[in-house]
Amino acid sequence: MTGFGARLIIMAGRLCAWLVICVPVAVVGVIAFAAMEVRDRPADISYAAPVAMTITIAALSAGVGAMLGATFAFISEEFGWPWFARVARLIVAGLRGLPPVVLGGLGWMIIIPRTFGLPGTHAAPPAWQAVLMAVTVLTVMLIAPAFGATMHALHRIPAITREAAVAAGATRPLIATAVLLPLVARTLWAAMALGFARAAGEATAVTLIFLALAFDQRPLGAVVIGTSLHGVAAFASNETLVLLGQASAAGLVLIAFGFASVSAANRFDRNIVWV
């Protein structure tokens, strides 16, 4: 490669690297700008209930989802049942293929079964059903990444650890629970933290579920989309930036949750594989 060509490639690479850094910074900057634009205007949305609901739903689904994913990974990897390993991987691959909007649609049909085929004939179910369904849907969404994170953590453990335990006469269940589980515990905590960030920021599935109730106190992600949809439906165009500004304020709270969770996850396990 010529010197000029190499320099050109290196310069393009550096520019692209800075572009990658600038994208999240620009996103935060723009929503901070939009939120500041409406700072003197009284908020049409009370954020206390959405924040409390977001924390509740995200924490429950992150905890349950991470535990289920880790359990699947442990049983399929460490208990010596090849058939179970194959079934678990098939299930996880299937879960990975479900987009959140489809999960939200399924949740809608479950909490309002009569909606399916009979539109407009249902009575609104109680709010706890929507919260329970949102937790269930987000739990299902988090099983696949938690499974992958636990599998990669198990593969990072040196083979000599298992060999030493086998040489000492430990059985597979004992190795899994007494040797390997403590070694991947930090990864499990990191998976829970990242699961919390993803669950708190998931908007489409939760919006669909809470739209089924026409329930005002929606979680934050649903507030962001719901407010923007309100902007779509509103006729006064000069109000749109105000509505987007309020959605941006909710977005800033979501980002704060996200950064706190990702920082916690980095403290627990910086090398976690989370996809």
Partner: protein, 238 residues
């Protein structure tokens, strides 16, 4: 732009051309930028940006797609941008760029990639040659797998698209000084599916569209797995 949808007019082909246009626009740009950035980081030619790129990838998990969509909506509204495909493409690219770059950096920084790097350097190759030829040729299947997964995420991420298109719709309304009605045929597939599900979840057409989304993701992930191989090495036989 009122949510004024005539469900009888929904068809499975609605939004596909916009989706293909937007993904066709966003995916090459995203992958090219991500590839150059990741190669630059792997070859340690990016200077101070190297550690920041890794941090940006991790921080990408902190900014939910719906918030990225919100930022794009604000920009579209302020700039008066009304082209749905372009706005969708920008939103898709902004939402997936840090994650795709982070995945590529992990691939190019793996133990195997580092061994290839040192072997090539020992053979007298320049770092740039290593980055461009050795890394890229050896990791081509993994790079294509990342591109397929990125395409899957772009095609079905409704949150970012819905909110981003609010900006385009509002700009259009502001330009026309009159409310316009939402036309599902001009919305990307996932966003159209979201609106259709919100308006009439009982529609069988919506269920079919949802099934198509699932099939799309499964096909793209399946193709990525075929290229990349089994992601979880089994230790059952140990």
């Amino acid at each position: 732009m009122g949510v004024n949808v005539d469900l009888a007019s929904i068809s499975l082909t609605d939004g596909l051309s916009v989706t293909l246009s937007a993904v066709g626009l966003a995916l090459p740009v995203t992958m090219l930028v991500a590839l150059l950035a990741a190669l630059s980081v792997a070859a340690r030619a990016s200077g101070a940006a190297g550690p920041l790129v890794r941090s940006a990838g991790r921080s990408g998990r902190a900014a939910p797609p719906v918030v990225t969509g919100c930022a794009i909506a604000v920009v579209a509204l302020l700039m008066g941008a009304t082209n749905v495909a372009v706005i969708a493409a920008v939103a898709m690219a902004a939402a997936t760029l840090p994650g795709a770059t982070s995945a590529l950096v992990e691939i190019f920084s793996s133990i195997e990639a580092r061994q290839r790097l040192y072997a090539a350097l020992a053979a007298g190759a320049s770092p740039q040659y290593v980055a461009l030829i050795v890394h890229l040729r050896a990791s081509l299947r993994s790079v294509i797998a990342v591109a397929l997964r990125t395409a899957a995420r772009m095609g079905v991420d409704s949150g970012v698209l819905v909110v981003a298109l609010v900006g385009a719709g509002s700009a259009e309304r502001a330009a026309a000084s009159a409310p316009s009605s939402l036309d599902l045929t001009s919305l990307p597939f996932a966003a159209g599916q979201f609106f259709a599900a919100a308006v009439a979840p009982a529609s069988h057409e919506v269920l079919l569209r949802a099934a198509m989304l699932v099939v799309l993701v499964l096909v793209l992930h399946g193709a990525a797995r075929l290229l990349e191989g089994e992601p979880y090495r089994s230790s059952v036989a140990r």
